[in-house]
Symmetry: C2
Subunit: 142 residues, 2 copies
DNA sequence: CTGACTGCAAAAGGTTTGCAAAAAG
DNA sequence: CTTTTTGCAAACCTTTTGCAGTCAG
């Protein structure tokens, strides 16, 4: 699984640095994390690492396909490793809770977009906004 | 159509101000616009209006249901009036171009989310990211 | 009149950049 | 030894907030 991440970087002409390794490990261990959160995690091991390095590193890791990011709330994007199961985030605009569903659930929709618009969807990138079951239930009580 | 927007505001205990009218008109006429763009539009008529007023006004207008926003790119959200036809944005991550499709196209997906997760989707709020037909074609040439 | 609303300026949150020093290959 | 990468500090951009004056009702 977490094998030749270094190879991937090298193939793209990037160098292997402890910072890159640490950021990648942090992304893998935290699952979903904002740049700030990744910084905190990385700094547990290497206190001198800078936020700008996190950003630059994420850019590199994303470019070579080792990580991706998704826009969950309105604020900071969250990064996660690519080999994690692809999933879609359902964000409740009322209570803010996030639930994940496997990306396959969207397959017919993705196909429809491909057929009708020639559009190749990156399902994991966006979160779907709306109201979760709990909040809908709560509204009906009023 | 653009009738009693003032009534709606009043019903919610808000006051009617020229700024609110101008912002609402700007939202309606621009279709999709970022706060900055709305400011520019409003300032054509009332040069003294401040950006913070735009933000505060949009918040109010959104709360009473006269406008909504969608997250199109990574950066700025765009606001549009509620009575516009509901549509979904397909954002190409390669060229940045945006195409719209009618929201009905997503109906089976929305239903699936409702059935499986009890989740009521706000389709217009999110944009779908991926690659547009043109960019896919261009990649194949390489 | 009185409280809601606005303009202004300052602060905050998140991300980017220039540069010199440090490290990778 | 050459080039990339990093740390630091400052710049940037967008959004938010506090406050005093202004305006709608």
């Amino acid at each position: 699984m977490s094998r030749d991440w270094d190879e991937v970087l090298r193939e793209h002409g990037y160098r292997i640095t402890p910072q890159r390794q640490l950021v990648l490990e942090a992304v893998n261990s935290l699952g979903h994390a904002t740049p700030e959160e990744l910084l905190a995690e990385v700094q547990k091991t290497a206190g001198a690492v800078n936020l700008s390095t996190i950003y630059r590193t994420l850019e590199v890791l994303e470019q070579v396909g080792l990580v991706t990011h998704a826009h969950i709330g309105h604020g900071a994007p969250t990064y996660h490793s690519v080999d994690t199961d692809v999933h879609i985030h359902l964000v409740c605009d009322t209570c803010g809770q996030i639930q994940s569903i496997p990306a396959e659930e969207a397959s017919m929709f993705v196909e429809l977009l491909r057929d009708k618009a020639g559009f190749e969807t990156d399902v994991a990138h966006v979160s779907i906004h709306g109201q979760c079951a709990t909040c809908i239930g709560r509204m009906k009580l009023l």
